[in-house]
């Protein structure tokens, strides 16, 4: 059964019809990617999933449960955790405080301590800088922190919004390596990316979204070879 399912979702910003009949499924243990150009509706889709924007029509299910009745802050406790676009770490708080806030909904101190240890193993750089203000970290380190912060909530499904944005090519590679590592550890991931080539190489399945509609869905490998996708999103 699908872990996360968007069923015929429409969304509006005022009068602007931003999402038109979007249906997406993410199965347990998958990396699914959502690719598309600027303004196609990728981030809007994530917003409707995390509950900050309500769908005007259609429903979103997590393990068969309708999420419509939950306010945004409770959707986090259901296991859907977002790493926001542009990282958005709490710049004036230390690395440690950022991680602590990631575990805001958790009441299990022992599990939090375990999680911190795991995250520090995955990103040793964060451990070195645990007392430093997050705003003084480099872009790549901030991306690590943003991911670490999301992992503190023990997500069932992780929503990554353009994790490679604004990073140097070397760092982009390491970000995607991290995504693969997380996947290997059993985290289900919905990845929104403009860097279509990298995203499709990492993901198992992909959706192509254009002006608020899903125009293509297929295995990532097949999408990589699709002429239209190559032309429109990879500049071939």
């Amino acid at each position: 059964m699908a872990m996360l399912e968007l069923r015929n979702v429409h969304a509006h910003y005022g009068k602007i019809h931003a999402l038109k009949d979007i249906s997406i499924t993410v199965n347990k243990g998958e990396i699914v990617t959502l690719i598309g150009g600027n303004g196609a509706g990728k981030s809007t889709t994530l917003k409707t999933i995390s509950g900050t924007l309500r769908p005007s029509e259609g429903k979103i299910f997590l393990n068969g449960e309708d999420l419509g009745k939950y306010p945004a802050h409770e959707i986090v406790t259901k296991g859907i955790v977002q790493v926001p676009e542009g990282r958005r770490v709490f710049g004036q708080l230390t690395v440690m405080e950022n991680l602590d806030l990631g575990a805001f909904t958790s009441k299990d101190k022992k599990r939090d301590a375990n999680n911190i240890e795991k995250i520090f193993q995955m990103f040793p750089r964060l451990a070195e800088r645990s007392k430093q203000l997050a705003g003084t970290l480099s872009g790549g380190e901030q991306q690590m922190l943003a991911m670490g912060r999301a992992l503190m909530a023990d997500p069932k499904i992780l929503l990554l919004d353009e994790p490679s944005m604004g990073l140097a090519p070397v760092l982009v590679d390491s970000v995607f390596d991290t995504i693969k590592t997380l996947h290997a550890q059993g985290v289900t991931i919905l990845l929104v990316e403009q860097n279509a080539r990298m995203a499709l190489k990492t993901a198992s399945r992909g959706y192509v979204i254009q002006t608020g509609k899903v125009i293509l869905e297929d295995d990532a490998k097949k999408l990589l070879e699709n002429e239209m996708v190559k032309k429109a999103y990879m500049g071939d």
């Binding site: 900050t52 955790v81 926001p84 709490f90 710049g91 806030l101 805001f104 705003g135």
Partner: protein, 561 residues
């Protein structure tokens, strides 16, 4: 522009800024009205002192900004700045003596010219004025040329004398109240009825220098000794310090007279208000400019419940107090709900409006039968503590002290709580905070409610202290005062707020000449603070790191790829 010109540029420019600043404080009458108070009796009136300090400061900055760090050029630039400052004033005096400037500037009086020229008419006075400017410049130049230790020593010694002179009305009554041989002798030695004695000023400088040098020589050994102590002993020392502070706070009103205790209660009420606003602004990052509304609500609830006028419900203060606080909290939630979605400037304007709405409602004829209208509500009984009537400010002081301790305790606990962390996250980034699972609605409303509760507590004490409430006691300036206290003291820092309240509320009460220039002084203080110490007088550690260590940590990260 040639190179030589650009070298002098700073001296002339900053000197001119200094000159214009002094001119402004002359023309608004500050120099003249402060001229009646002396820092050093018979020699140095306060108005002149302020003018001198401004020109010295300008010269100091001019020298510091000199593009070439060569001492002779820096010195020359300082002198140049001082000369330009006094030159501008000299031109002003010459023009003022030949044309009647008073038609436009009411304060441009002959008395002012006399003050500026040292009381000498004609060319001699102008010469003295210019000479004073040169001296100021030379003095600042000397400070720049000197090494660190003597510079700090001189600046702090001058500040000490200035503070001692300024705080005469604080220190002298305390010395006199003891009426011992020693204190009477000290009072006579240091103070006249208006300002320090010259001998007192010199003694103060000497004593300060000795203490400063002793501290400087031993500071490192003392610090290392302290940090070498075992943790338990360190803790004990800390508790001992707290104990001494507590003893001082408990016995403080016994040393202070009626007037100073009254000042202390005003400071205390503002500390309460500041601590409350600190939760809203400092912790949660919501700029609330209508904070006076809750103060008014606290006051009016106590007034209505305890005063025999209007309803004659006849509760006593202690029964009314919790009701007042609860009403304040409810009002905080009521304000919070409509402004939930607002941020930054919009929130500030909306809350400003809320403050005015409450004041106008209270003032209105429509609600007069219930709230007393412009006449307010009188004959509020004083609080009665176990049969003991708290009448004097000395008694009210203990009530306020208890309130402050309670509020400090709650603030400290909240800061490190789950709620405190949620506030912190919300202050930084609302959207991400929500994505972390923080309930924004509840968190925001709790911030408004807590702050409003503290404010209502302050208002309740205020009403029973004054014995009457009037709408005009609750104008927007109270909100502005409290915001200034929080910003100047240091946003988020509890000791900072106490210091801010003492500086912004206590000092003007001690220096009544300030009253006319209160808002002017606040404005200047805010601008200076934002330029020199944006984190506040006693900042919270976090803000200090953020605003000052950026370069340090920045290079650290840059060094590692």
């Amino acid at each position: 522009m040639t190179k030589a010109q650009s070298l002098w540029n700073h001296g002339v420019k900053i000197g001119a800024i200094g000159g214009v600043s002094v001119l402004v404080i002359c023309l608004i009458g500050m120099v003249e009205s402060f001229g009646k108070r002396f820092i050093i009796a018979g020699y140095l009136p306060m108005g002149v002192t302020i003018a001198l300090i401004i020109s010295m400061f300008a010269a100091f900055i001019a020298a510091k900004k000199t593009p070439i760090p060569e001492k002779s050029i820096q010195f020359a630039n300082a002198v140049m700045s001082g000369f330009v400052t006094s030159g501008l004033l000299a031109i002003f005096v010459i023009i003022g003596r030949s044309i009647k400037l008073r038609v436009v500037f009411v304060e441009a009086s002959p008395v002012l010219y006399n003050i500026l020229t040292g009381g000498i008419s004609g060319a001699g006075g102008i010469f003295i004025l210019l000479f004073a400017g040169l001296l100021c410049g030379a003095f600042s130049g000397l400070l720049i040329v000197l090494t660190d230790l003597p510079r700090k020593l001189i600046i702090n010694a001058i500040a000490t004398v200035f503070a001692l002179g300024l705080l005469q009305e604080l220190i002298l009554p305390i010395l006199n109240s003891w009426d011992l041989g020693v204190t009477n002798y000290l009072a006579g030695l240091f103070y006249t009825l208006n300002g320090l004695t010259p001998i007192g000023a010199i003694l103060a400088v000497i004593i300060f220098c000795i203490l400063y040098l002793l501290w400087h020589a031993n500071q490192n050994t003392i610090k290392t000794k302290y940090s070498n102590l075992p943790k338990a002993t360190q803790k004990k020392t800390k508790y001992f310090g707290l104990l001494i502070l507590a003893i001082i706070l408990i016995f403080l009103p016994q040393f202070l007279g009626l007037f100073l205790s009254e000042v202390l209660t005003i400071v205390g009420l503002y500390v309460l208000l500041g601590l409350g606003l600190n939760i809203v602004v400092g912790y949660a990052g919501l700029l609330d400019l209508g904070y006076v509304a809750f103060f008014a609500i606290g006051s009016y609830v106590v007034a209505l419940l305890t005063s025999p006028q209007i309803f004659d419900i006849g509760l006593n203060f202690w029964q009314a107090l919790p009701i007042a606080v609860i009403c304040g909290i409810l009002a905080g939630v009521m304000l919070g709900i409509p402004v939930l979605k607002m941020r930054g400037d919009y929130l500030a304007i909306a809350t400003l409006g809320f403050g005015e709405i409450i004041r106008i409602l209270v003032l209105s004829d429509f609600l007069k039968p219930w709230l007393g209208g412009a006449q307010g509500i009188g004959s509020i009984p004083n609080p009665n503590f176990m049969g003991f009537l708290m009448v004097k400010p000395q008694h009210i002081y203990y009530l306020i002290l208890a309130g402050c301790i309670l509020v400090v305790f709650i603030s400290l606990r909240l800061k490190n709580s789950r709620l405190g962390r949620a506030w912190m996250a919300m202050r930084e980034d609302e959207d991400v905070a929500q994505a972390m699972g923080i309930n924004l609605v509840a968190t925001k409303l709790l911030a408004f409610a807590t702050g409003a509760g503290f404010s209502a507590l302050s208002g309740a004490i205020f009403a029973s202290k004054i014995g009457s409430v009037y709408p005009h006691s609750f104008n927007v300036f109270i909100s502005i005062n409290v915001v200034c206290i929080v910003i100047i003291g240091g946003i988020g820092s509890l000791p900072g707020i106490v210091v801010g309240a003492a500086a912004l509320m206590g000092l003007p009460e001690l220096l009544r000449e300030f009253a006319d220039y209160r808002m002017f002084v606040y404005g200047v203080a805010l601008v200076i603070m934002m330029l020199l110490r944006p984190e506040g007088l006693l900042p919270e550690v976090r803000h200090k790191i953020e605003l000052h260590d950026e370069t340090e940590t920045g290079t650290q990260t840059a060094a590692q790829p």
